[in-house]
Symmetry: C2
Subunit: 383 residues, 2 copies
């Protein structure tokens, strides 16, 4: 019944193939750039330290004058300078004796340890030399990176723009969350919220449109208006009923690569492109939509946004057997308890309470007919 | 020289012991509550679905009338109703035949599959029954949780307040980032930025004070003014020099539990309490401070904030031997490359560029004298 039925990996490949890494960049204040991706190498104009620096509290000395010093054969110096960690060591000194190894007698310093040159001194450029590339294009900025750049006096960074994602929820009898009490047969549109929050978590700037009714022209119009987006997510109307317009609109306005995926949950998924930009059509069942977000949208946004964020994963022992449908890639929700992964077997892609109880999911490949109790599995955690 | 020298685990225990999980709560709009922690169980007032609901596109029928139906022995029904996924199934029907199993001839429906009662029907309360606890106190709200609560018409949630963290950077010759060009011997204060960004990432509401000079009275005053915080972080002045006031001030104003930790980097760390609230004094060397944030501040904030967030971790093979100091817990920075963990051996707690190159760190326990090349290790990733 699905005319462009595809295996899960092939469907993902087709989506990724039509995702283009962003070229647009913007300049941000360094201290505001956490989580953003550098769009060019950053080269330091200065050295760090910018001067020979005391690495310990103690006294700056000339190392040559400490030759042979040891606890039972101290040397006595007249040229020395009290130093605190981080202070510049003047050019006529070349080592810092730590407090434990000295005893000061007024203008004379008793030293009980021999210093080699630059002992306890952080030398100019030891951390970074002027001209060094300190961070490379493609690097995602973490707090210590921002600290490093700030230490070097680099107040602004050039980063890639954030991917622009537009989320178009479709369907009849759906209301915006909390807009009014529900009448029989109505429901709140909650998938758009989930999609927006995850897209933002994965580095995108996401917009949700109003709910588009099950009407081919309106779906088409919503897609047309948002053609500039880097990724469009249409939710609902992705199956093979007569009112499932999303895949049809895709094939009319652009290309429909995939309709129907051997993925469980997530079978009624469609993938295509309009105006050379990727469009994914996700099923309206919340659990299927959530799993599709992880399976399709997360890697798509990673590629578009030049990111390579690891999804948190833990190893766990399966508490019970997981059955799965051969030929389908299954994403099985599990709860973690005492190091064991308990499959949440309530089937039904509409059962949202099963996600509230789940900590993550396990991937069962197409060749398998499930996994046995006691097997060690990777649990990908919901973020 | 350190008077309250402690093992790393014991120091952490003492800190955690004086951290109190927050009691204060606030009410938030559900859609704005991502990442916050529920401070009470959430009970649903309604059932989900609120009505018997079609789980497939197809036709509502009476299951009894389909008895014996199969492809070569169809039954013909006159009572049926077209259904679209999600629509209410009226009380006089009890199953939905999917499109694949029917052929409609005007007012007669040819059915080629026998239905059992409630086949392809999501029953009232199948997901959640009125009165069910859907999420429990202590649960950190993720996007699907917010979707679930919104589906149930729960527009507000009660969550724990965010831990209030105050960060007090201390030291001479330090300037606020970018305030003006540096003269010889000066540096920008970058630790406060790192501490603030990580505290926020770990669920806190963090404030950084201005830089407090190396002056006992001023350090004392800064601590006094901020006594209401759930956790105070003092940066710098934590060692045993005469100008290292932080531990001294702690012991005068409250209690000093630990001064000096068998942790590498991070030895000059102090832990205490003032007005019954935890205070950690972290070394001013940025790398040591960063590792201390992970070792001490992260678990402290998790306890105060009722959180249990997993730090992303990957397994990797050590590319080279790691030496370590026996008796000290070592946190060794590593870069990941092709599934191998390459230790970044540049020692020196001041070398911030080593963190820019690091993806995470490996913990080497006190009993070991390092780790061998080829060993499988857990790499805790920098967030």
């Amino acid at each position: 019944m699905f005319k462009r039925f595809s295996g899960a990996a092939a469907a993902l490949d087709m989506l990724i193939d039509c995702c283009r890494p962003l070229r647009g960049t913007e300049i941000l204040q360094t201290v505001m750039a956490e989580g953003r991706v550098l769009s060019q190498d950053v080269v330091s104009a200065v050295s760090l330290p910018a001067f020979d620096r005391a690495a310990m509290d103690g006294f700056a000395v000339q190392s040559a004058e400490t030759q042979g010093a040891r606890p039972n054969a101290p040397v006595f110096l007249e040229r020395f300078l009290p130093m605190r960690t981080g202070m510049p060591v003047p050019a006529d000194y070349d080592a810092v004796v730590m407090l434990e190894d000295v005893d000061r007698h007024g203008s004379v310093l008793e030293v009980t340890a021999q210093m080699h040159p630059y002992k306890n001194v952080s030398r100019v450029g030891e951390d970074i030399s002027a001209g060094d590339t300190v961070l490379s294009e493609g690097h995602t900025l973490r707090p210590p990176d921002l600290a490093l750049l700030s230490a070097l006096g680099i107040a602004e960074v050039q980063v890639y723009e954030m991917p622009k994602v537009v989320i178009i929820p479709t369907g009849g009898k759906l209301l915006e969350i909390g807009s009014r009490a529900l009448f029989a047969g109505e429901a709140y549109e909650i998938n758009g919220l989930m999609a927006r929050l995850y897209a933002e978590k994965w580095g995108a700037s996401a917009t949700k449109t109003g709910i588009v009714p099950d009407d081919e022209n309106l779906v088409r119009e919503a897609l047309k208006v948002n053609e500039g987006a880097d990724l469009i997510i249409i939710i609902g109307g992705t199956s093979i009923g007569e009112k499932d317009y999303a895949p049809k609109v895709l094939s009319v306005m652009g290309e429909l690569f995939v309709h129907g995926v051997r993925l469980q949950p997530g079978k009624p998924t469609a993938i295509g492109a309009v105006a050379d930009r990727p469009v994914v059509c996700l099923p309206g069942y919340p659990v299927a939509m959530l799993m599709d977000l992880y399976f399709f949208v997360r890697p798509a946004l990673q590629k578009i946004g030049h990111r390579n964020d690891l999804q948190p994963t833990v190893k766990a022992k399966l508490a019970r057997k997981i059955p799965s449908r051969p030929g389908y890639l299954s994403l099985v929700r599990v709860a973690l308890k005492d190091g064991e992964a308990e499959p949440i077997m309530i089937s039904g892609a509409g059962i949202l309470s099963s996600v509230a109880r789940a900590d993550g999911f396990v991937i069962v490949s197409e060749e398998k007919e499930g996994l046995e109790a006691g097997e060690m599995v990777d649990v990908l955690l919901f973020e």
